[in-house]
Assembly symmetry: C2
Homo-oligomer: 523 residues x 2
Amino acid sequence: MGMFEFIRNLADQQHERVVPISVFVAILCLCLVIGHLLEDNRWVNESIAAILIGCIAGAVILFLSKGKSSHILRFSEELFFIYLLPPIIFNAGFQVKKKQFFQNFITIMLFGVIGVFISASIITVGSWWLFPKLGFVGLTARDYLAVGTIFSSTDTVCTLQVLHQDETPILYSLVFGEGVVNDATSVVLFNAIQKIDVTRVNSRTILQLIGDFFYLFSTSTALGVTFGLVTAYSLKTLYFGRHSTVRELAIMVLMAYLSYMLAELLELSGILTVFFCGILMSHYAWHNVTESSRITTRHIFAMMSFVAETFIFLYVGMDALDMEKWKMTRVSFGTLMSSFGSIVLLILLGRAASVFPLSAFSNYMNRRPQRSPSLTFKHQVIIWWAGLMRGAVSIALAFKQFTYSGVTWDPVNAAMITNTIIVVLFTTLVFGFLTKPLIYYMLPHRVIDKNDSSVGSKSPKEDMALPLLSFEESVSTNILRAKDSLTMLIERPVYTVHFYWRKFDDTYMRPIFGGPLSSPPEC
Amino acid sequence: MGMFEFIRNLADQQHERVVPISVFVAILCLCLVIGHLLEDNRWVNESIAAILIGCIAGAVILFLSKGKSSHILRFSEELFFIYLLPPIIFNAGFQVKKKQFFQNFITIMLFGVIGVFISASIITVGSWWLFPKLGFVGLTARDYLAVGTIFSSTDTVCTLQVLHQDETPILYSLVFGEGVVNDATSVVLFNAIQKIDVTRVNSRTILQLIGDFFYLFSTSTALGVTFGLVTAYSLKTLYFGRHSTVRELAIMVLMAYLSYMLAELLELSGILTVFFCGILMSHYAWHNVTESSRITTRHIFAMMSFVAETFIFLYVGMDALDMEKWKMTRVSFGTLMSSFGSIVLLILLGRAASVFPLSAFSNYMNRRPQRSPSLTFKHQVIIWWAGLMRGAVSIALAFKQFTYSGVTWDPVNAAMITNTIIVVLFTTLVFGFLTKPLIYYMLPHRVIDKNDSSVGSKSPKEDMALPLLSFEESVSTNILRAKDSLTMLIERPVYTVHFYWRKFDDTYMRPIFGGPLSSPPEC
């Protein structure tokens, strides 16, 4: 009887999905418990724990399947880019301390955008020069450009788990902000590289690449800002909370997701869009919902991001023992290891070549009379170190470049995937392991003065002046001030831009889109 | 160059998912806004609005695709049973007023379990007898049994949106509780039917069916209870909130989902498991987390359930205009309509045959001296009416029975799918439309006395007695009471069982698994 078999097939088909999901969810729960128990541990953090648990789970599955396979779910960029990345990036935007983020906006952009360009160029040129010498051949020009981008995307989770927002606010906000902008930049740059004609690389191609990049960057940001403002405005005018808090929450979650999907659909950068949507939502929309919705959204987004992150690290750990890829890699072990070594070297070099010059430039931009440079050498070393780890974005981009839906039959491509996985494992485990001791050594606890590390923090004098500069002042005073501020703009550009943005925000934006009229000290 | 095409293909492949998701999320947002604006409307509720919007969207897509297709996502039971149903049922268990649910436990079980058996028998026998007479032939014995179950699963969302928990607490809790148990019973019964040998239907088969059913029912419940207790216990002992509220939330969400998946994996009823897991979690685990996690969980689960529900109604509306199925149906329009009419008739009849006798039985079980029957005729009519609507579970079960992964090539099967969709649309739109007026007519506002409708509510005397019956009393008093309670058990079984459960809960369960030691009036 056909019907009966149909149903049996259907049941089997359902189990095909049910088994891996169950195993994965169970391992995730285990990760959470272990992460909780390791919370006070000095050496191991959550990401490292998740990767190790993933490796162990991979080994167990490899053993149970008699050496056939180590993973229960194939790594798919779809899963990663459609379901896991959006909550992480949205939450980053939603939870960012906006005031500090915008005060350090230019420095963050320097590190996050120009830094990626520098680092990607060095890695591309370096690998182009080194790989053939090491006997690793077969990559195309586009592949080398992609390699540069793949290994320029940093993963700052390890560092952020060690830095304390209250103890080193500026350092935290720089590392955090750079991490997000860096992710977005790498993905946008990666997509821009896919579009250019690599057969004729000349100065025009480079210009075209940069043009493409800035077009993607600005349109994506504009889309995110639009979505955030529309959500804020509709929440304010319709006031959903009157009837049910559930609708407010649903609208916020769905609009955030829609912004990401729409950006992807328009071939923009979903990451940037959803990041700015998150910033706008927490700046305006969040103030238009009921009290319980405010608490809930904070936690909902943090939880989704947390689960997605743990999921990714587990995944990477499990994928490390993927026998198919190891077998496919026909490159000798020595060549593989030397190419891996050269990539790690190039990462260290590329990061140094971007962080130290850019820090010096940032110190020049943020200069103040009679003050020591705001980014000390120790801070620069920590920023350099924070960007050494490679994570899920690298893996996802590598899969996108070197496989077709997670499968590859080309030995060179397989070797590049293996290389990427080793680099991610090595940097996360070894560098990640050393992060806590390094930071404790560089910034001993209790010694840190809150005002010591300050790219944009206010001096006492400014604190006094700010409340007086309200937007209710008379015109004449404003004109007088305008002269002062022109001087200010030249002397201290970053601070001044931020100051005028706040005035504009208070006068025009908040009355329309919501939010308290006088900025609270931290929001 | 192969690589380039690979990436293009990949991008197209991603878009294949991105477009439907974007459209669906956008329509969902629209639904939320329209539902909010219709909140004060007397006639249209959210489900009806979602179905109508789905129909309109389907028509637009049909028009844009030039008559080819009306749906952007194929209805799949995987989507429904793995992703949409679990949050709805879990939330039902999590938000249920446990005290009233357990006070009315026996009545709810009567309606939800025995009621489904009665109704399914009547619909099976009735359709078996009527369909061939109407010229609708080709269904097997198993199909008829399945039809009985498919049309016995009720959708009480429409009624619950009209009934007010504060005005008619007992009626609300009965309709709500029955709705959940009914869903679970239908699915369990449906699965039990798949297993029996229909070629020899005799009294042994029936007994086997009932045995299978109760085995599934009890094991699923036990699994759910176990999961709930394990979660509560681990939250209490590990106290995740010490380090981060995010882990508490993640553990609760993941464990709930894991309970569902594990039940499905063990071929039990995930619905029942996750329902009881929800009850246990809100009864114990919820008290072991931080204050902000409590607020967040309440809203997170409500939101997920709300979105999933709206999603399903949209889906059903969109699927109604599926041209493929309409074309496949080679049965004449007259036959289709008469079979549809007979199904609606059988639903009305089957529901009446279960509600009225069972209400009488329930009134007998809950009898009290010198009191009028607790379920008045008006209440019985409302309960009868509340169970007339058919919803997503019917559709999902019909797809499971009559299609293979959402596709069918058999005209009889296609006709049954079409029939199910018409029945769901008709009952939700027509009966749902009449629900508000009916209830306003049967239970005029402000006239309802809270103590009037009372299956298990306490009489003033009991209210006085309860606080004295604490577990700290001396043994002798307890023995004396035991005699009294034996009499009580015979006279008023429901109340007594609940009373002893509460004592057990206070003495043994709460100290281990968490929760306030003296039961609050409503929890």
